[in-house]
Symmetry: C2
Subunit: 272 residues, 2 copies
């Protein structure tokens, strides 16, 4: 460990990290856990981070479970996280729909129906989540037909895939691509990497983007999204990380470390 | 009716039609029929065309039914078409796989399993058809995982949607988009609008592209595909046709007529 500033040296500069951050944004799946299992060292590292007294926000594009169940799952893995510390793409969609005064048709996983509510009989927007194994052609085609009638599309996320304990799994970005291709409608994405998703979390903590840091395993949606709004991004080599992420032409993380524990060591080694 | 040359006058010129064609390529769904119903005047117009003695080929990207069932369905609607006159995207995929010496994993509708055969236990290519209502997340995710292992993707078609009797329906192009987005692999499409699909049909008839014509309802995959290999395209205002097709910046059909019957009248009015 050293306390030198951490700053990418590539042609396209990443935001600098030269002081201990005032808030840490942490992606959940692939960083703290994979499926039902905490990643090695994650429980202890989270505990160390808590002891350092830094404000934390956990950001997730997972849209198959309500926030309460995420909290319970994390606690079951020894990862204590309060509901109020988690910002979900589901919640971002609910906020966006309210802000626009719209009445959604929901194509979402049944697990979050209680959180979002039921579809409106005369919808004026299609809201898409990760239906996962509940995917059916009829439901997809119904959403497609609404888009062909001119309804806009709000997508909770556009992730390509995520890591499950038995392998990588196709994420909801594939359904966004399917509906966009069929209908010609372009989705508004409200979860990561949408700028309001990151900035909203920091606004709650009254921390400026340059004073925060994000730890994530998704080069495009975590690191790219955070750095687009000047939040330094630390990429971990766990979850959906692939070696080619380190050779990407477009997105250069501020730092790349082996796992969440290494990220915590790096951040706590920086001068206050 | 007149016998003046038919030739689009827009900035991007469409191929000219100044003589009666020596062969006619005809799209099936949306041109001759919609679902189980022949389009008005189609039965009589096909009969008129047969009487004129012009060689015909019927091209279809439909990949939910084997060719024999298509023939039976068409005959049941009063549209007599011989199996040897139909060129399907399913058959194009079978030919392409043989040509490359590959061993496919098939993600296709159960209706064509008898035609394509079963999936290989150690596949080296993923072949995608329109699974339609049989779509399941597990099957889609399995194909995705094979692509992530480096297998190439052959798609029978990339159509956006087609017209059914109860409305427009999402076509298999949406699944191609989903798998391409998730995996980063680009599909090779073997049905319309792939050039070999059109040129193969004409080669069988020993007719040059400029001496043939295509009648279709899909601006992009029928008209655009044919005209890319210099076959004049006649767009019909039936099936998936939408008024905005007549204002497209990229594809200008050689002619646009109300329906198949009008297309036949136009073609038979041209000088020999």
């Amino acid at each position: 460990m050293n306390s030198m500033p951490v700053c990418a040296t590539e042609a396209r500069p990443a935001p600098c990290l030269n002081r201990r951050p005032k808030a840490i944004l942490i992606d959940l799946a692939g960083v703290l856990h994979v499926g039902e299992y905490p990643l090695p060292g994650a429980v202890e590292a989270l505990s160390t981070l808590r002891a350092a007294g830094l404000p934390l926000r956990f950001l997730t594009n997972t849209t198959r479970s309500p926030r309460d169940r995420l909290v319970a799952q994390l606690q079951g893995m020894g990862l204590p996280v309060a509901a109020g510390e988690i910002q979900t793409a589901v919640h971002a969609a609910i906020q966006r729909v309210r802000q626009l005064g719209l009445h959604p048709h929901y194509l979402v996983h049944s697990g979050i129906t209680g959180e979002v509510g039921t579809s409106h009989p005369q919808p004026d927007v299609v809201v898409l989540g990760d239906v996962g194994p509940e995917l059916s052609f009829d439901a997809l085609n119904h959403a497609f037909r609404l888009l062909m009638q001119g309804l806009p599309l709000i997508a909770m996320a556009r992730n390509r895939y995520f890591q499950e304990s038995d392998g990588v799994t196709l994420d909801m970005g594939a359904l966004v691509a399917a509906l966009e291709f069929g209908s010609g409608v372009t989705a508004e994405v409200v979860g990561k990497p949408a700028p309001p998703f990151f900035l909203g979390a920091l606004a709650e903590l009254c921390v400026a983007p340059g004073d925060a840091v994000l730890i994530g395993d998704d080069l495009r949606d975590d690191i790219g999204g955070a750095q687009a709004v000047h939040i330094p991004g630390v990429l971990v080599r766990t979850g959906k990380y692939r070696p080619q992420d380190e050779r990407d032409d477009g997105i250069v993380p501020t730092a790349i470390v082996d796992d969440f524990a290494a990220a915590v060591r790096l951040l706590l080694a920086l001068p206050p």
